[in-house]
Amino acid sequence: MSNPIELLRRLSEVATPTLVLLLAAAAGVTVLVHNWRIALPATAAHFVLAGALLSQVLDPTVAFIKPLAGVVACLGVALAAFQADQMRQRIGQSIALERLRRPNWLQLPSQLLLRMIVAALVLVTALNAAARFPIPTSAPGLVAAAYVLAGFGLALIATSFEAMNIGLGILLLLSAFELAFTPLEPSIGVSVLLAVVTLMVGLAVSVLTLADVEPTDEPSQATLAEASLTADAEVG
């Protein structure tokens, strides 16, 4: 049981609809909650679940490459986000820490509500699209998961102000592509190359997360937008 590949194989034995639901839930949390302390573990969980779905059609050893690369990319982004938070705090721009320490559960900000509505619409559209435009020869469960992830990825990119969240949207998009394409060409070469791409994108997301912290006194576009929309503390 201590072998991670064996763990992934055991996880892949869970029914496909359950795995797809869990995957959608993890990706949904990434879309709704923009605080990296919650969004990044959810993204890492989505990589593990995507790996479990892939192990249903691939050798678990090959499928393991995906969660491995994804989790490593998430770790890199987490380090960058932590560093960015420290830098923001030093220059008095940080609101992320405050939001986590003193969440106001009773007052939902309009931004979070908007994201919830968008996520619900995307979910319905994606499931509909999976039924209407299935990818030939690919497993239906994987196709549905791919459509949901692609929809969530695009929604996240479209509704985010902060660099890190846009980056997570790109990682979700890559994951969607991998779920849809890998069963069509199940080779170790494709899996390795896509894992390398995931790591490279993770690196870019980390660098851009740090670059998003403005070095000047002027607050960033992200901070201004968030400050105006979330006057009260929130979790998302």
């Binding site: 890559l174 080779s187 190359l193 791409v197 994108v201």
Partner: protein, 468 residues
């Protein structure tokens, strides 16, 4: 005797140059020189005549032999040889320019990575795997754009570039798979051939326009040029866009099913739209960065028109315009970089004048004004397109004229500022300190003008004929 695929030597050479650049990153002049020298040597090697054999220390280089890794073949085909040579030469020219003006902490190693990925994209088969290399180039480009960040810069362009490359990756991979499937279907039922290729054709078109930054309009080229340090804009404009255009042309020539009227019409409409936009907006610009963005729109637009023109001169025009663009951009963006740097310090007026001169000459060359290398490329392009599309040719000429006005207005804007600030004398360092920089500026100006007068000097590298 051992036989080695030339493509492996080139890829390994670029990788080693990149690692060396990282190791010597503290000395930008050294790292830039290493990568520029290696790229130039490899470009010269690839540009050797087809059929030539080279033996070094008992190792024979085979240009046609593919190198297979993870089931994918890397090969320097007859078409991709010229493209790869031009991309490497463009990279060498731009990095040689940058030896005194580093544009960010990891500018040179990331530029080496960018050149490496584009080389891989041009040589890998099947074509869909080039999308992975373009994604790698997008990662390097997105980080490069953030070099030398000042307060007002944003990460918007980096994200847009990354998102475009990711969407193109998915589109191209699926296009490849659907095309294989269509080939199998067509073999079994030839009557279904036309409909079978609809999906891959649409996906290929999406991939092309996203990678070239053509659609959606203003997606990543415009903000990238605004956000990036000048020499990074030059790399994106010459190496990335040039490499992508050459790859698009290779794929277009290779895939028979792609050459239909619908694709021609979509690509030529997109090209015309970009050229019209450049012609309408270019003249109104009063900033070099915006004039550059308009010029890049025109370059992408004319490239798209060229790709769909079944002219004998298409390959020649594309190769020449990529190389000419890198030479023009080296002068233009070096001038801008020096102007940027010197505005932060109290640099001597003479250096600023040299920089302004380089920016104007490079900008006019980019617009295709006679007497510059840009004119030669513009002329060959216009002649190639004019054989079948007169409106396209007129649009190219109009865009060039409009951009040249934009360049001159931008120069006038800077000169006006210079004159008004001369009333406040500043303590200036001695002129001798800037001699290497002034020499680099002079060489880049001279190269832009002299190659415009004697373009035949480029023939060995292009492997095609250049009109006198």
């Amino acid at each position: 005797m051992i036989t080695l695929p030339a493509v492996l030597l080139c890829a390994a050479g670029l990788l080693i140059a990149g690692v060396s650049a990282l190791a010597t990153n503290q000395r930008p002049w050294l790292s830039a020189s290493i990568v520029a020298l290696v790229s130039a040597l490899l470009a010269g090697l690839i540009a050797l005549p087809v059929g030539a054999r080279l033996t070094l220390l008992g190792i024979s280089l085979d240009f046609a032999q593919p190198f297979v890794v993870l089931g994918r073949a890397f090969v320097l085909s007859e078409v991709s040889r010229s493209s790869a040579a031009v991309v490497l030469a463009s990279g060498a020219i731009l990095l040689a320019t940058a030896w005194r003006t580093p544009q960010g902490r990891y500018f040179v190693p990331l530029s080496a990575a960018l050149i490496f990925f584009l080389f891989i994209a041009l040589t890998v088969r099947p074509f869909a795997y080039a999308a992975l290399a373009f994604q790698g180039a997008a990662v390097a480009g997105a980080i490069l754009v953030q070099g030398n960040r000042a307060g007002s810069r944003s990460t918007l362009s980096s994200w847009r570039y990354l998102v475009s490359a990711t969407l193109a990756l998915a589109a191209l991979f699926f296009a490849g798979w659907f095309a294989d499937r269509a080939a199998r279907t067509t073999a079994a039922d030839p009557a279904s051939a036309a409909a079978a290729y609809d999906v891959p054709t649409a996906l290929m078109l999406i991939g092309f326009v996203l990678l070239l930054g053509a659609l959606p309009l203003y997606s990543w080229i415009h903000p990238a040029v605004k956000d990036a340090p000048p020499l990074v804009s030059a790399l994106l404009g010459a190496v990335v866009l040039g490499g992508t255009q050459l790859w698009t042309f290779e794929v277009w020539r290779e895939l028979d099913w792609l050459q239909n009227d619908t694709v021609r019409s979509v690509l030529s409409t997109t090209g015309s739209l970009l050229l019209t936009l450049a012609a309408l907006l270019g003249w109104a610009q009063r900033s070099f960065a915006r004039a550059l963005a308009a010029a890049l729109f025109a370059e992408v637009g004319s490239g798209l028109l060229l790709v769909v023109t079944d002219s004998t001169r298409t390959a020649e025009a594309l190769l020449l315009s990529t190389l000419a663009r890198s030479i023009s951009l080296s002068a233009f963006c070096l001038g801008l970089a020096v102007l940027d740097q010197s505005s932060a310090t109290s640099a001597p007026t003479r250096l600023r004048l040299w920089a302004l001169g380089a920016a104007v000459v490079g900008g006019l060359s980019l617009a295709g004004i006679p007497g510059t290398i840009g004119f030669v490329a513009r002329w060959v392009t216009a002649r190639g397109i004019g054989q079948t599309d007169l409106e396209g040719m007129l649009l190219i000429l109009a865009a060039g004229a409009s951009i040249s006005i934009g360049v001159l207005r931008s120069a006038h804007q800077i000169l006006s500022r210079e004159v008004s600030s001369e009333s406040q004398p500043a303590e200036t360092p001695p002129e001798g300190d800037n001699l290497p920089l002034r020499l680099t500026l002079a060489v880049s100006i001279a190269l832009t003008v002299l190659l415009g007068l004697w373009p035949s000097a480029l023939v060995p590298l292009l492997g095609v004929s250049v009109p006198q």
